[in-house]
Amino acid sequence: MTMSRLGSQPTEVIDRSTTLRFRWNGKRFRGFEGDTIASALAAAGEHVFSRSMKYHRPRGMLTADFWDPNLLVQVGDDPNVRAGHRLLESGMDVHPQNVWPSLRHDIKAANGLVARFLTAGFYYKTFMRPQKLWPTYERVLATFAPGGKVDLDTPHRYHDKRYVHPDVVVAGAGPAGIEAALAAAAAGARVILVEHEHAVGGHLRYSSAESARTALSELRAALDASDVEVLTDSTVTGRYEDNWLGIVQRNHPIAVERLIKARAKVLVVAPGLIERPFVFAGNDRPGVITSGAVRRLINLWGVKPGERAVVFSANSEGDAAAADLDRVGVEVAAVIDGREGRRVSAAQGPPKALEAVVAGGTRTDADLLVVAAGWTAPTSLLNMAGDRPVYDPDAARFFPSDPPSNVLATGGLAGDGSLDELRAHGAATGRLAAQRASAVAHRLQARTARALEVTGDEPDWAADERTPLGRSPHPELYRSDTHGMIDLSEDVGSKDLVAAAREGYDSVELAKRYTTATMGSAQGKLETVNTVAAIAEARGETIAQVGTTVWRPPYAPLTLGALAGRVFEPVRVSSIHPWHEANGVHTILAGQWIRPDHYGDPAAEVRNVRTNVGLIDVTPLGKLDLRGPDIPNLLNLLYTNKWSKLPVGKVRYGMMCAEDGVVLDDGVTGRLGEDHYLMTTTSSGAASVWEWVENWLQTERPDWRVHVTPVTTAYTSINVAGPKSRELVSRVTTGVDLSPEAFAYMEVRTATVAGVAGCFMWRIGFTCELSFEIHVPAGHGLHVWEALMEAGADLGVGPFGLEGQRIMRLEKGHFIVGQDTDGLTLGPSTGLSPLIKLDKDDFAGMPELAWAADRQLPMIVAIQPDDPGVVPEEAAQIVRGDTNEILGRITSSRMSPTLGRSICLGQVEPELAAGGTKLTVLLTSGQRISATVIDHHAHFDPDGERLRG
């Protein structure tokens, strides 16, 4: 077939005064503004656009729209672009996909010669021996993977999302959809009309009939005058629970693609119908084209699709295509009328072209075969709403059965009729949608806690009194008396499906999985019903008996970029971070936080804390501000120990367990006032503990009066540790007596520090030194830190980082949740059994812990290698002698600068937990060393004299 540009057409969408230059397959081409990539190429005489997946057969234009399986191309770094849909832009660099070495000469086309051996699923039956060759076979098979190439340096461009709450969303702007949108808007509803194509109008756009053109301009004018928001080149990709809709907008001026998330009160589904290919010998040959494609080519882009055509028509669309062809000077050599029982049997010719069409034994020379064999109802959105469409053999397509009442179908999906009837049905649907949306709106307002005062009763749920559309009879045309291709994007033929069904893969789902039919780019929109028909034929059943597959989202593919949108996950630093950076910090990532790990020499930092005083920025520590009279109840429920009698001004350590008794988190909570507490969590548990607390309060104890505010980032937290810490803190603090008698260990005060009022200060410590932890309103964090540094210069104050703190906590034997414990460590394994109060009424994990109380559990113990110079890795396994039997593992290990030896925490089997037990530790190098369990967790200052000083 030879295509060329026709003279100006009354309905054309191209601007012939604007020429766009682009490249295709390395050569220069021109098109017009308004062309799709494919229409520009077709006008320039191109007629082969791709090679098929398996046999690498040359493929031409089939449907000339988004769903055309033969028009997937690479545009720059964008793979799998729909050339039948994507508008041409100046400078585009377009390449065919799936060709090797070139579109013209493709070596893999040799596969076509052995097609009879490559039946569907052939790969399951071979390449098994020799087994070691399978990787090689696999690499070869993988080269047949269809699709374009990903440029791994593609940037993630701008993709912000939009959230909308319309009353009515109408999916599809054909005449019925437009009328629905207009009628709903006229009834006062806020309406979004979503159109997959580049302009509204549906099939009216490419109809040359005067009546269609009049109707279209009428509808457009009405839309322009209405409040309906129209989104073109956009698709409703999915309908999820409660009419939660995904809409992808492809023509946003800034975003490459934008995801719009809509909570529609009512969804109107009006996508029209998709033209179904017919199965016969040679039906995938270039030159075989659907009637809709022909009409679009002629009327939208002024492209002459061939010279001499045969039209196989079973409906008015086919007749209209024949008329269009005739009008623009294409010779219509024959019309094969499917309504009269006639069938096209074969399309013949050399590989890349069509020469002749065979029907009823007659051969007609032609370079174009136009097929109008019927329709597929794209019921996807209805399926996603739970509807199971029903097949009607008289109309030869599926129809909606019983969608939920907030999802309404109109247009071709709902039935057939004259343009006026379709418009009237659309309008009635729009009115119904608006009525039901108003009822939903009323209900939402009335039932929302913060609702405005609602006036009047809830409107009745309007009954569906629309006059149903009729159903025009249509011959059931699926396969001719010859076999042909069913899924063009997967190269699956009707023979393959019949063979698969006979082999036992005889349900749609099994056949689909076995042959891969419907798994390609159109996801069944063109091929599903033909697939079902082939299986029905093989089984001797009807299409209704075989049923259809479930259509899953998305309706049309959308980019990962649009789905991902902008990343909202923050990277966090404390207010002191600039100081750290100016002072040679080495940072470490801890969750979302960038934290000081050390400032060059962690061992020196430890020694300085042990002899002088050090400051550590512990801002990421999780902090929850608790207010209300029921806080003691909450704390009793969440922690394993008792909280009823915590006086104001005191803090207490607590351990939380999950309901399975496994250690969840730990930290201290202080009572700041009568009904005011500050809870701290581990840094890594800040978010999850907040969720945990809220979960209990909201789902189990909504009656408790407790208000929880996460204040982790509202306070900058500084721990001042070391024997000189009291001296240092006292130099900058006013309003609090810091003497040991007045401010004892495990107490909390509110103080003014360096002039900053409202700082919470408590005496606790992870380092086993005298220490003061100060929570400063975040805006003043850096100021207080600098004031402490300045005030302590003569005391030898210096910063220390996470590494120093980890060394010191290990010297002290404090375990870290998630490092020394794991997903199975029960509360008592930590050695904190005295803090598990089984005589309380209840607490999270109590039944499990009561059960565990009488059992021997693996224990966390302090371990010292017998060779003080060896530091076993955190992961080294504790084994039985020379065997590989695992008895435990090292969970934390460091060289202690204070003790001058290696120290560890580990988990061991219960029989090894007693002090003095000898262990064999298997280093990751494979070397086995001996080590000893020590009596208590603390390697240093076991009595805590320094801490309490």
């Binding site: 098994m128 399978w134 696999e138 990903v150 006979r502 199975l824």
Partner: protein, 429 residues
Amino acid sequence: MRRRPAKYSAAALAWRGLRGDSWPRVWRDTELKRSYDAVVVGGGVHGLATAYYLARNHGITDVAVVDKAYLGSGASGRNTAIVRANYLTPEGVAFYDRSLQLYNSMATDLNINVMFSERGHLTLAHSDAALRTMNWRAEVNKLQGVNSSVIDPDEIKKIAPALDTSDHPRHPILGALYHPPGGIVRHDAVVWGYARAADHMGVEMHQKTEVLDILCTGGDGPDGKGAGGRVTGVRTNRGDISTPVVVNCTAGWAGLISAMAGVRLPITTHPLQAAVTEPVKVFLNTVVVSGSLHVYISQTDRGELVFGAAVDPVATYSIRGSLEFTEELAGHVLELMPGISRMRLLRQWSGLCDMTPDYSPVMGFTPVDGFLVDVGWGTYGFKAAPVSGEQIAAAVATGKTPELIAPFALSRFDTGDLVGEKGAAAVGH
């Protein structure tokens, strides 16, 4: 009834291709009998493997596998087909290692190409804590003879160039547990292979056969169900079947089926969603998993990227996907591979997972004599199908719990001997 199988081979393909012969049915379509020696409920990989090993290893061939839909319609056809053995606990490692061995020889054992692609498996570490857990797993694996080690970002980049291994603050890739024997398998082929091989030995496959009740006698509950009783049969939509042995291999529906025998399971059912992109030329030759981003990625030989995630947080039997899942998934995938933002999501789906409190399965005998379970497979059932089938079949045949599955007995929830795979299995695909 043994049948001579139609052997699959290149030569047979050529021969039938030349002669234009069709292939015989992959499994027979037979009448449902009124009695069987054993009934396996659930025609997924676990049920079919159980039936296959009952016939092959123990000569028990009077077996019916019943499924309410088609074979492989549940989790077997919805999972992301990843296999590996680098688990955290010795019990887990031993068990999955055996499974991997069976997958390795499956193509020749079953005479069907299951396309086991031993492409290696990377579990990424984005934090020090994660790296520590990787080291722990590597050490345990090493002791069990499983090939797995921790590698650094440079090595990761060589194996998977698409990953962003640059130094950046949000979810940096600090290292990975690399497990060369891991890979992907064509899940449907495993279903069909077991069904076909079992069929050849006389096992019957009955699709669209829904179990409505399990008939029991002598138990302490109503209708003779419950502890102390025994199974006498199964009631289906196609009539009653009498049988002394019922094996429950129904994954997401395991709790409902077990309840029919009066056996309560510590299982909640959660949906697990997955998605696939349009195909592009192959650029990812390994399986990539990120625990903290809750995502796992592989590229099929067809060029599609297959994505999976963690189970949905809410327990439900609904398998409609959600929009949020695809958004979060895409965000996480792009954190790892920022260069693929223009790839398009083609399809999403959802399956059901039977989750246990310790993220480990429940296998073996129950308080009802003749009622066995192979359930609680959560998000990791596919990997374990061969070994589970083999071991459950042995339990049925011998009446004793095989050592390999002893740690996974239902009774552990009474005695408290839980299996600690929470860390490695929770999102560890």
